[in-house]
């Protein structure tokens, strides 16, 4: 079944502070009463994931994981949201794992495919940075060694 999922770009757009406050209050109220409906939890989790602050993203992903554990019927959607959350936080490996699991179930899912592409881009970017650092470190290393050799070569003179 084709599920109705948001594109990754939607996750970059955050809610206003007031809106998030309302969601948070709703969530807390239901928690006090004892039973939190899945929709409320998801609303709050999604709002948190969309926010730019990392702490809130972490909390959002945590709530999504709770939903994943508790509701078997919602798990497939949660795969996507978890992948999205991890992608935003920068955990590319986990994001990739969840997304791949989702794509196994729904190969034709457009959002999943676009998210897969984004994750690959992210991994590649980090790889470039890594290469740059490694290259820089190597360069500095060679300079140092050259300097040492030159010093050693000068001494005997």
């Amino acid at each position: 079944m084709h599920t109705d999922l948001p594109y990754a770009a939607d996750a970059e757009v955050s809610l206003s502070y007031d809106e998030l406050e309302v969601l948070r209050r709703q969530f807390q109220r239901e928690e006090e009463q004892g039973h939190v409906t899945t929709q409320t939890k998801f609303n709050y989790a999604w709002g948190l994931v969309k926010s730019p602050q990392r702490e809130q993203q972490v909390r959002g992903v945590h709530l999504l994981q709770e939903i994943y554990r508790a509701e078997p019927s919602r798990r497939r959607e949660c795969l996507y949201y978890l992948a999205l959350g991890h992608y935003k936080m920068g955990n590319y490996e986990d994001a990739k794992k969840f997304n791949e699991l989702l794509m196994e179930k729904e190969p034709a899912n457009l959002q999943a495919q676009s998210l897969a592409a984004l994750i690959d881009n992210g991994v590649a970017k980090e790889g470039y940075i890594g290469m740059a650092i490694a290259g820089g470190a190597a360069a500095i290393g060679t300079l140092l060694i050259a300097g040492l050799i030159r010093r050693a070569a000068r001494r005997p003179e």
Partner: protein, 646 residues
């Protein structure tokens, strides 16, 4: 060069990140991530790690096909329908519909607002100018008085179409929210049901715990009795003779625990006619059984063999009690006999020896009517030999108590005191050691005495002095010489005339309880010989009675067992059966009864459930039973005695 450097870095550098995450793969992306992390100064919180750690578990959990509400309304749809901004359209439309009264006086307070404030009691500027405001309101530009508000506003096509779209969207949202609410309700109902299930299971557990508690109470009392006994019996060698009321656990061989529960594991089939009475000394000890074939047999329960006959009674023995080695019986020959079971064994041995020794001159006397299954030589024995050649053979019957004028139908003894009830409508108290009748209690007298009392006293039931028991069981029938009551048919359709007026007796100290043929259960004081209380309830003769500290339990031919509260005399419980009840025994946890069927009925008092013992059981209605702890003995019309492990 970069590549070699890269390869070297791959093998040489154990990144801090790798240590933190325990990863085995290390590539450029993780290397690139490190400076990013350091730059942003991300504290690695426990939540962070928690999320990361739970990932592999989550990946393992199965993902079922989404169905039900999850299929209809995705989370995102629900999100968009329930977030506060979904209400915005409605608010906007309402604002659009807000009509401005005075376009030219927008700066000032509108008159309506002023009215509202005045109604609330707040001062407004120019409050004294009511009149002016009234006229002021009339001068609305472009609108005459009496025109509806809608006429003053023109919305425009674009606005209208936008509103239409928004309304449809809102309707969708409402549908989504309704669906979500229904789904939650279903979910909660399901949870409530499962919690209910758990609760009912816990309640059953509670009942079981209560039962065990009662059992432990009994055990405790038994242990205390034994402790007292052992304290007292420092020097003497008397064996522990617990009273019949002992409730604690009996000493059973260990193999008894291995026996299957609720199954008759031993059958003793020597009698030729329905069993009329039985009793045991202890589990796996001695059993005495009597039947309509006028024989009373002694059995060894550990081997299942018949040891001896109890010779002495003429006629059928109707009631028995065995305590240790002492046995007491009453029968249709109007006598009560006291037996020493060891002596009975010896007597049998002596008889057998002399029989075996000399066939022709076997000294058998006093027993012309007993059909001895062992003997083969009828003719030789029937001839009375007047002279016993051998020395006096041991006599099993110690004493014969005579005094009743009719069949002795129920009996109970404790220590030296014995009480017997007979069909001559009297209950006699005897001293076993002397053999004398100490007291005679006349039920007839109690009946007539009760009836002749003039006014109804403060009887709590309000029921006055109707003759207790059977309706129309008038004094007449009670006074008549012979008492007989047709018993309702049993499970196999058989029935007979019930002739025993006193169905059961039991006493403790000076308190005696009797159940009689007029359906009344009477409580007597043996010091005075008066019945001080009569429990009315049964509508047919009472066949069996037992009491303990709290309750009296009586069974009767009216197919019920009634449990009476000892203190108040009121009925605590009534158990109904399909056939007449002939025998019962109870303790704090159960009531075991013979209720006219081949199966033995066991009623659990804590769970209020009735069960039946049928496995390997009798083929005809059970008549008598007796149990001790987990060892039960039953006798039935099929002439067999069966032993059960319960």
């Amino acid at each position: 060069m970069v590549q070699t450097a890269a390869s070297s870095s791959r093998t040489n550098q154990p990144g801090r990140i790798m240590e933190a995450r325990g990863l085995s793969n290390f590539n450029f992306s993780t290397l690139g991530r490190a400076p990013l992390r350091l730059a942003m100064k991300q504290p690695v919180t426990s939540q962070d790690l928690g999320i990361l750690e739970s990932t592999p578990d989550l990946l393992q959990t199965p993902i079922p096909e989404a169905d039900g509400v999850a299929k209809e309304i995705s989370l995102l749809k629900g999100f968009n329908a329930t977030i506060p901004s979904s209400e915005k359209g409605k608010a906007r439309r309402r604002q659009v519909r807000n009509v401005q009264f005075d376009d030219e006086n927008e700066g000032e307070d509108s008159s309506h607002r002023k009215l509202g404030m005045q109604a609330r009691g707040m001062l407004t500027e120019g409050a004294h100018n009511d009149e002016e405001h009234g006229t002021h309101g009339r001068k609305r530009r472009g609108a005459k008085r009496g025109d509806a508000l809608t006429a003053s506003k023109i919305l425009g096509k674009e606005e209208l179409s936008r509103q239409r779209r928004e309304i449809l969207q809102d309707k969708e949202n409402l549908h989504v929210r309704r669906r979500l609410a229904q789904a939650e309700i279903d979910e909660i109902t399901r949870k409530i049901n499962s919690l209910d299930l758990i609760r009912s299971q816990l309640e059953q557990d509670l009942l079981r715990i209560q039962e065990e508690d009662l059992e432990l109470e009994d055990e405790l009392r038994g242990v205390q009795e034994r402790a007292e006994f052992e304290e007292q019996q420092q020097g003497s060698t008397a064996t522990f003779q617990p009273s019949r009321r002992r409730k604690g656990p009996a000493f059973l061989p260990s193999e008894h625990d291995d026996l299957p529960h609720g199954v008759a594991f031993m059958t003793l089939a020597s009698h030729n006619a329905p069993i009329t009475a039985l009793d045991i000394s202890e589990p796996y000890g001695l059993l005495v059984s009597a039947s309509q074939d006028e024989s009373t047999r002694l059995w060894d329960l550990s081997s299942g063999e018949e040891i001896a006959f109890l010779r002495g009674h003429t006629g059928i023995v109707k009631c028995l009690q065995v305590e240790g080695n002492l046995c007491v019986s009453g029968g249709t020959d109007n006598t009560v006999r006291v037996w020493d079971l060891r002596a009975v064994e010896d007597e049998e041995e002596a008889l057998n020896q002399s029989f075996v020794g000399s066939l022709a001159s076997s000294p058998r006397f006093n027993a012309p009517s007993i059909p001895d299954a062992e003997e083969e030589d009828d003719t030789a024995v029937l001839v009375e030999r007047p002279k016993p050649a051998a020395p006096a053979r041991p006599r099993g019957c110690l004493r014969t108590l005579e005094g009743h004028t009719k069949t002795v139908s129920s009996i109970y003894f404790e220590d030296a005191c014995l009480v017997s009830g007979a069909s001559d409508k009297t209950i006699r108290q005897w001293d076993i050691n002397t053999g004398q009748c100490v007291l005679t209690m006349d039920i007839l007298w109690a009946l007539s005495h009760a009836a002749s009392q003039p006014a109804p006293s403060t009887s709590p039931r309000g029921s006055t002095f109707s003759i207790p028991g059977l309706p129309g069981a008038s004094l007449l029938s009670a006074a008549s010489n012979s008492f007989s009551f047709p018993s309702p048919p049993m499970a196999d359709g058989s029935w007979d005339m019930y002739l025993d007026f006193v169905g059961g007796v039991q006493f403790w100290g000076y308190a005696l309880v009797s159940g009689s043929g007029d359906g009344a259960v009477r409580m007597w004081d043996m010091r005075t010989g008066q019945a001080h209380r009569t429990l009315v309830g049964h509508t047919a003769p009472v066949t069996c009675v037992q009491f303990d500290e709290l309750h009296i339990v009586s069974g009767s031919l009216d197919k019920t067992i009634r449990i009476w509260d000892l203190r108040t005399g009121g009925i605590a419980e009534t158990l109904r059966f399909d056939y007449p009840v002939t025998s019962l025994q109870f303790d704090s946890r159960k009531v075991v009864s013979c209720a006219g069927e081949s199966g033995i009925k066991v009623y659990n008092r804590t769970t209020m459930q009735m069960s039946t013992l049928v496995t390997n059981g009798h083929t005809q209605p059970v008549e008598r039973l007796r149990y001790m702890d987990r060892y039960l003995v039953s006798g039935a019309r099929d002439s067999t005695v069966k032993v059960w492990a319960i």
